[in-house]
Every structure is written in structure tokens, then in C-alpha cells.
Amino acid sequence: MHTLIQGVILGVLTGGVYALMASGQTLIFGVMKVVNLAQGAFVIASAYLAFTLFTQFGIDPLVAVLITTPLMFGIGVVGHWLFLRPLRREDATELSILITFALALLVEGILSITYHTTYRSINTSYANKAFDIGGFSVSAVRLYGFIVSCALLVLLYVILQKTRFGRAIRATVQNPQSATLLGVDSNRVKAYGFGLGIATAAASGSIYGLLFPFNSGSHYDLISRLLSVVVLGGLGSIGGAVLAGVIIGVVSSVAAVTWSPTWSEMTFFVVLLLVLLIRPQGMFGRVERGAL
């Protein structure tokens, strides 16, 4: 029982980080109808960035978020302009998947040149600290990471709900055509929406780097998990992604503790498969029938 609860605690804390990563992924889908396979690569790129900022300048990864996030937002906007905007409408869905896949490889290649392929980890002063809460050990990095993730998710919520830009994004998510009619500049919204999605990857990258060791190839692992999370949450639904992130975090952590770590990896995929069988649109996704 003790192990089980320990597993749940771990799962919730880890799930919070997945939730943040996945919210960006699903946001990008919502705005652009693009499955961004490079999301994981951007997370890892940001983790490296945080690593450099920490080792070179001693900036704490959680503070580095303030630097990496705007930077990656810019990269996202430029990336959209360079690679996604030129696509012809007819092939956009198909090609954008492949293009983001290629982008992921490009990022991986650049990272493996810059940082080589050995695993890196960010060892802050509190890296090994743990709190004892009611007999359960909670590591400091996890707790801090979770808190920052939650804070950023709240920030994202505020941006989407309270700002003009956020409203434009939500209008685009709900109905791209009518959003255009309402005077929303769809190209700009798409570019900024993509940027915002990449920015959340940046933020979660810092936290990921703090929590887990990573190398340039880690994004393969990450992207398959992220995809499971966003499909479970419903493509395009941010609330769904957050909930799904936590659910999957808990399920896999509990599976690892109570059953076997080798099979806990599978929980992501089992969940994905079940979702597709029972409710293909995910928990909060909408049924779409044809591009009407």
C-alpha cells in the first residue's frame, strides 16, 4: 500500500510535467491541425539550453524558463514561417506530419553535434534533496518542477482566456473559417499559436532536464508518450491534455511500482489503443466529419 501511494505521488508530479508539454502539442493541433512530431525534440533542445545556462552561467533551470521560453517562441514563429506556411493546402496534413518529423531529426542532429550523445543531467544544489511528507519521500526537483508546471499551465490558461490574442486562438480552434470572418488574421494566429506551443515545450524542457537525464535521441521516447497523452485528452483540447497527462503519469508510475518497470512503458500505448477503440476522439475531443 505504501509503495502504491508512493507511486501515485510520483505519477502526479511527473504527470504535471507531461501535462505542460502536451498542452503545447495539443494547442498546435487545435490552431493549425498539425500533429507536431517535433514537440519532443524542442523539449529536449530546451533541456540542453537550460543545461548550458546552468553549467555556463549558473542559472537555475527553473529561472532559465524566463530566457528559454521567449527564445523558443521566436524559433517557433520562424519555424512556422519557414516550414509550415509554404505548404499547399491540399497536402498540408500529410506533409506537415512529415515535415515536423524531419524538423525533429534536424534538431536531434544539431543537438548531437553540439552536445554529443552522452546523457546529460542538470545537477542543481537541490538535486538530491527530498522532503518527507507523511512518511512518503518526495524529491525536491519533482516538487519544484510540478509547482512550476502548474504555474505555467495557469499562465497559459490566463493567456488563452483573458487576452485578445488568446481569444483569437480560441476562435481559430473552434472554427477557423468563422474566425477569419471575424477579422482574425489566420496566418498570424497560426504562427503565434505554433510559437506558443513551442514555448510550452521550452518551459517543460527546463523542468524535464532537471528531472531526468537526456540526450539528443531522447525525443523519440518523449514524442510517443506525448502523442498518447494528446490523443487520450482529445486532439486540440488543452484541458483534456492536462488531465490525460496526469492520468498517464499516475498509471505508468503505479504500473512500474506494483508490476514491472519494463511493462510500465506499455501503459502509454495500451491507454492509447483503448481510447482509439472506445472513443477515437479522446476524452474531450470533438467529432469531426469531413472538412465541411
Partner: protein, 350 residues
């Protein structure tokens, strides 16, 4: 492309037959012209990847469902082959594994049916997600089903007992057979209603369904055939290498390579993927061998990919063909109907 005004579209054209014949003869004669082992080795991998690329094209090109999980079936085929070697009493000579190959292909195709039915219930993007996830599921299973796969320790096949001087040839000809099978299917598709159905799915699936095209049946069928061939390629590969590990058998880079080959040569054509493989595979192998030594490899790969997608999204062959076609139409004085929008060539060229 000759279209007669009357009668049915021909199944074989004279020029098509000639082309196919020349190609087959070339494939058979080539090893005799180049007796070096290293060339055979390269030709083997080129033909093997060409076969996979042609097969990917069936679902990814013709139907427009970009599968990112073909490497899963490649790996399944490889491990199926390894499993066959476990019951060595079934194998009395080195040729037998090749004859078991069709069973592996059939197995992969049957396995693909439920997966296709689930993955293609929704849209192409969800299909991409499911297939890429499938790849990681398969890899995880490769690691964890230890009794079946040997897990991280890998699985060994017995070494092929072929004579040193012709060692690569059985593998090469197995790959050639696979390529011809795949191209035959692709050709068949371009010549039948099946091809039109797949093309209509790629162009506008909802509309296709709306005009009564049996979209589900057609795309699941294409997917099954496609991964069946890929699985067989995995089997040949495993036998050639003699030893396989999950991370190599289920390698995302395999998928990327075959997708890139297809896009380079031209998707939804019979010859495009072959052309793509013939350019990329030797280039890749020789580059790694002569240039190698630098991490630039992955970046170059990704850059070429991006450039093709952005500048030549239709690939080499369709681009050239459509230029020719428009030129010949102009000669016939048929340009009146041509709008300024660029053409998207479909599956009707062969």
C-alpha cells in the same frame, strides 16, 4: 500516356511491358557485370529498400495515409525470421528461409487488418500518430517478450551456408523478387479501379466516401499489402545480418529512409520509389563510408527531407512527367482548359 477515345483502358501497354522487361533483365544481369562483393552488398540493400519504398507508397503515396510505423512490421518480419531459426529442424538448407518468407508476409498482412481498422477509423493525422506509436509498442515488445525475441540480448539466426563467392546473391535475388512483387502490385493498382479509389481517398476522403467509394475496405487492404511486403523485407534483412536487436529491427530511421525515397522519386507512381532508393541508398552508404566521421549526417538527411517536401513535394518523376504531359497537351492544342493552378499528378501514370 496514350488514351484512346474508345474502349477500355489497356492493362498492359507495349511501352510498359518493354520497360518492365528491360528492368527485370537489368536486375538479373547486374550482378554478373559487377562481380565485387561490396557492390552486391550495396545492390542488395538498395533493392531491399526499393521494395519497401514501393510498398510504403501503396498506402502512403497512393492513399495519402502517411504511415510512420512501417519499421514496426519490418521488425516483426525480422523477428519472425529469427523465430523460424529457433526451430532449426524445419530448416534443412539455406534456401528454405526464402520460401517461408511469403508466410511471414501473410502474417504481417493479417496482423495489419485490425490495426488498420482501428487506426484508419479517423483521419490521416491520427493514423500517423497510431503508426508511430505502434513502432514504439513493437520495440517495447521486442525488448520485453524475452522468450520470443531474446530481449535486449538480441536474437541470432544461423549463418547462411552459401558459398563465399556467391554469398550475397541469394539475398539479392530474394530482394529482387520482393521488389518485382511490390512493383507488380503498384502497377496493378494504377491500372485498376483500386488505384482510382486510393487516389480519390488521397484527394478527398469524405467526398470519396460520399460518392460510394468503399474507402475503409480499400485503404485497409492497401495497408495490409504494404506492411506484408515490408515484413518480408525485414525477414530477408535479418537473415542477411544473422543477428538482430530490437533497437535496430524497430528503427524509426528505416521508416524515414523509405518515406524519403518515396517522396524523392515521386509518390503515387510505380517507378518513383525505385528511383528514390537508387539515388539515396548508395549515396547514404558510400557517404557514411567515405565521408562519415561527422555528425552532420543526420542534419543532411533532415535537410534533404525538408527541401524535398518544400520545393518538390511531388518528387522527381511526377514533376518531370507533368511538364512533359502539359507540353504534349499544348502541342495537341488542348491547353484551353488548363488553369493556372499547378497540376497534381495522380496515380494514372505508370
Amino acid at each position: 500516356m496514350k488514351l484512346s477515345k474508345e474502349g477500355a483502358s489497356p492493362f498492359f501497354t507495349r511501352i510498359g511491358l518493354a520497360r518492365g522487361g528491360v528492368f527485370i533483365v537489368a536486375l538479373i544481369v547486374m550482378p554478373q557485370l559487377f562481380p565485387q562483393h561490396w557492390i552486391w552488398n550495396m545492390m542488395f540493400f538498395t533493392v531491399l529498400y526499393a521494395a519497401m519504398s514501393v510498398s510504403w507508397n501503396l498506402i502512403g503515396g497512393f492513399a495519402g495515409y502517411p504511415s510512420l510505423g512501417h519499421a514496426a512490421f519490418f521488425g516483426i518480419g525480422a523477428y519472425a525470421m529469427a523465430a523460424i531459426f529457433k526451430s532449426t529442424h524445419l530448416l534443412t538448407n539455406g534456401w528454405q528461409p526464402f520460401f517461408i518468407m511469403p508466410l511471414i508476409g501473410l502474417g504481417c498482412a493479417i496482423l495489419a487488418l485490425p490495426i488498420g481498422l482501428i487506426a484508419m477509423r479517423t483521419r490521416a493525422d491520427v493514423f500517423a500518430i497510431v503508426t508511430i506509436t505502434l513502432l514504439f509498442v513493437a520495440q517495447t515488445l521486442g525488448y520485453n517478450l524475452k522468450s520470443l525475441t531474446g530481449g535486449a540480448q538480441g536474437a541470432g539466426l544461423s549463418r547462411a551456408p552459401f558459398r563465399l563467392d556467391i554469398f550475397e546473391q541469394p539475398f539479392y535475388f530474394a530482394a529482387v523478387s520482393l521488389l518485382l512483387l511490390a512493383m507488380g502490385i503498384a502497377y496493378f493498382i494504377t491500372r485498376t479501379k483500386l488505384g482510382m479509389a486510393l487516389t480519390s481517398i488521397r484527394a478527398d476522403e469524405d467526398k470519396a466516401r460520399g460518392v460510394g467509394v468503399r474507402t475503409t475496405a480499400v485503404k485497409v487492404m492497401a495497408f495490409a499489402v504494404s506492411v506484408g511486403i515490408t515484413g518480408m523485407a525485414g525477414g530477408i534483412w535479418a537473415y542477411y545480418l544473422g543477428f538482430i536487436y530490437p533497437q535496430f529491427a524497430f528503427d524509426p530511421l528505416i521508416t524515414i529512409a523509405i518515406v524519403l525515397m518515396t517522396f524523392l522519386g515521386g509518390r503515387a507512381t510505380v517507378w518513383g520509389p525505385v528511383l528514390g532508393a537508387a539515388i539515396l541508398m548508395p549515396a547514404q552508404q558510400l557517404l557514411a563510408y567515405y565521408v562519415g566521421g561527422s555528425q552532420i549526417y543526420l542534419i543532411a538527411y533532415a535537410s534533404i527531407f525538408l527541401l524535398i517536401m518544400l520545393l518538390l513535394p511531388r518528387g522527381i518523376l511526377p514533376t518531370v512527367l507533368s511538364k512533359r504531359r502539359l507540353a504534349s497537351l499544348a502541342k495537341q492544342g488542348n491547353m484551353s482548359g488548363i488553369s493556372s493552378t499547378p497540376a497534381i499528378t495522380g496515380g494514372s501514370n505508370s
